[in-house]
Amino acid sequence: MKKRPTVGEILQAKGVSRRGFLKYCATTASILALPPSMIPRIAEAIENARRTSVIWLSFQECTGCTESLTRSASPTVEGLIFDAISLDYHHTLQAAAGEQAEAARHAAMQENDGNYLVLVDGSIPLGNPGFSTIAGISNVDMLKETVAGAAAVVAIGSCAAFGGIPGADPNPTGAVSVMDLVTDKPVINVPGCPPIPMVMTAVLTQFLTFGELPELDALSRPLAFYGQTIHDRCYRRPFYEQGKFAKTFDDEGAKAGWCLYKLGCKGPTTYNACATTKWNNGTSFPIEAGHPCLGCSEPNFWDDGGFYEPLSTGHFDSGEKLAGAAAAGVALGAVAAAAGRRRQAKFMKEG
């Protein structure tokens, strides 16, 4: 196999100066959420990173993740790192179709056996293989076949990572996540609905740059982006501490930009980078736009109670059952009192 060029060589060939390269490394560190002190290490790693083949599989998904990703990939520095990957299969983005597309996938798998990356968006239906197919191949078969020779699998979006909306109750297709099926390869989850574009490219960048898996949390999410809660990094946090909350979407508190906890914000239990990386090229994020966090990067966010219900609310099903409990209490009390009266009467009689 012909040695693929390193990223350093690619940049050099493009006539990028050392200063430009340093700048590139600084912004890469920023994207990777690494401290600026890591820049020399990144520079060294990037210079020696090799171009990697990537196969993107889309299963039960809405293409929102791809939409999100392309918002990041085209214009920014990550565009450069995309010079360093070879996106060999992505049935939404590629020009080829049908047999030709499948042939491209097989060719990439053979040429890069053991070294390519598989990216998956969408969940996999197990209820019936016919629920979702590509080129007549069921999702589960295509995943297993493609993952066999992969170096690692990246589950993009909450559907691939946790089952997402297709997996929401009552889960009609029997949708499962990538990590439910892939157990013998490293799986990196990049959840979100969709994930932040920068985070997706950064996870790829990190893997391509350092050639190793990033540090992951208990849900296999890279700690660099999913290590802190939205609440911990929220610019409205000082209002939470002061006990200042917006009570409706149009009251004085909402206008003053107070904490949205009372409006159901899931920031405290949601691990993601929205509060600092933000969306649309750093323009803002949901809380900055005045809407509570839905917790879209957490498992089962769709079924996890109401979006507008405060986190501290208990889930009581009805007042009737509680009234029933009260009635039971009255009955028990009456029985206990009757028994007490009998004892009392007996005592009085016998002395």
Binding site: T229, H231, D232, Y240, E241, Q242, G243, F245, Y261, K262, P268, T269, P299, N300, D304, G305, E309, P310, L311, S312, T313, G314, H315, F316, D317, G319, K321, L322, A325, A326, A328, G329, V330, L332, G333, A334, A336, A337, A338, G340, R341, Q344, A345, M348
Partner: protein, 217 residues
């Protein structure tokens, strides 16, 4: 279902049933008891007013005991008032109550609540130390006393841990906190914590009996 969902859902639900049924059981059981017949001539007409008077006067120590009980009394007040503020004046808690009561009330800033919570825990520990080191107190203490102490303090400690983010992740700590509250709710009607709803009933009854007998209250 994850731990937090379990805590917020079934655990809290069952605990609420037990709390309501148990508390009413004990209250009704006591209130429906037949009064012991008293054949003596009443010295004064014991009524509701007498009950209220004792409920108030017993909130303070009678002067002969003031010095001796100053320390535990103070600690107990700090613990009870701290606990009250933490439970009912912390804004996320108010939201919890609003969830089923449908109305809210003003709360205190988190930093004040944190301070009161720490004060409650410290005084609670001080009272436990006193209970263990004082031979008389130790003699009259049983499992109920220690367990009641534990189920009361544990939710405050877990709540404080959430605010300083110690040990586990937020959602795990929150789940443990809610479960610890569920434990408190389940135990509350049956042990000595029953004084939550019985304290003024018993004190009022004492007041009425004493008034009837002509005692100075």
């Amino acid at each position: 279902m994850d731990l937090l969902e379990f805590a917020k859902g079934p655990a809290l639900q069952v605990a609420a049933y037990i709390l309501v049924a148990g508390s009413i059981w004990r209250l009704v059981g006591i209130l429906l008891l037949k009064e012991k017949p008293d054949f003596s001539e009443p010295r004064q007409s014991g009524g509701l007013l007498a009950a209220l008077k004792v409920i108030y006067t017993r909130s303070f120590t009678a002067s002969p005991f003031k010095r001796a009980t100053l320390y535990p009394k103070m600690m107990a007040y700090v613990m009870h008032l701290g606990l009250f503020a933490v439970v009912f004046l912390f804004v996320p808690h108010i939201m919890f109550f609003e969830g089923f009561l449908g109305f809210e009330w003003p709360g205190l800033p988190n930093s004040v609540i944190f301070f009161l919570g720490v004060a409650a825990v410290v005084s609670g520990i001080a009272l436990l130390v006193r209970r263990i080191t004082n031979p008389v107190l130790r003699l009259i203490s049983n499992f109920d006393d220690y367990f009641s102490w534990f189920v009361t303090l544990f939710p405050i400690v877990t709540g404080l841990l959430i605010s300083v983010r110690m040990g586990f992740r937020y959602e795990t700590l929150l789940a443990i906190h809610i479960l610890s509250v569920a434990l408190l709710m389940i135990w509350l009607p049956f042990g000595k914590l029953g004084h939550t709803f019985l304290v003024f009933v018993t004190r009022g009854t004492t007041g009425m009996v004493f008034e009837r007998r002509g005692a100075k209250t």
